[in-house]
Symmetry: C2
Subunit: 160 residues, 2 copies
Amino acid sequence: MEVSHIHYQSIGVVHSPFTQQAGTPVQPSHDNASQGMIEIAPQYLEALQDLAGFSHIWVLCHLHQARQPKLAVTPYLDDKPHGLFATRAPSRPNPIGMSLVRLQKIEANRLYVQELDLLDGTPVLDIKPFVSQFDNREHSQCGWFETAANNVTQADDRFE
Amino acid sequence: MEVSHIHYQSIGVVHSPFTQQAGTPVQPSHDNASQGMIEIAPQYLEALQDLAGFSHIWVLCHLHQARQPKLAVTPYLDDKPHGLFATRAPSRPNPIGMSLVRLQKIEANRLYVQELDLLDGTPVLDIKPFVSQFDNREHSQCGWFETAANNVTQADDRFE
């Protein structure tokens, strides 16, 4: 299998109250109060047209603070290790974050969002609208999450 | 705003019946019959542990056939242009695909999937489990999709 080398450039940056992984919400849905702003580079202003009609957006980003990947990790929500690709841990071969946040309002190139779980300064790679007909699954099996041992809502420093 | 330069390497490749964008399903949920296989590089075998317990997985991939980005696009599902970031069109500044597929079975480093909408040969960047408590949103507003003009299920060649 041929390995592809892929180069991206950030299209924006996350402004967030969280400056370290410890204490940051584990996933967006766990913390409705956390607010932040996503600043999109001005040259992409036109690409934000019509985005304000969506209540939720996917923020794809480069998890710049993630540690070197490990193939098995003990995630926040459990007390035993799982294969990395069966977790949402940030320390991945390509540390791409996929964060579903609530869009409050847009002012020019600034997206004000809630339910944020990203660190301040995180480079943004892409913004996609959340589309319920594409992204919701009514019936799904969620593996070890269904019997996970822990119910934590905030990260610690294990992946820093 | 500082621009970050980001380098990734593929962790696998998509094997799919679709060799060109025209005729490929527009989104995974639109075509339950399309099957394919995701071949993960053997060095990541251990990272697939426990993934088989999930019915759906997110495939993050590099849309290698996408055209140069345009800031406004007329998507398949509508007949007027929208800002790129308010669409799921493939021709993006960083052409990262986010595809939600049904996981049938895993054999060693091969993930057999259904509801696939990716082209053959697409480099895979990451695999994440679909977790309903993180990824489902019961109440959402989906902008122009809610009144979209078209109900197409297959792509044409506009983004090739």
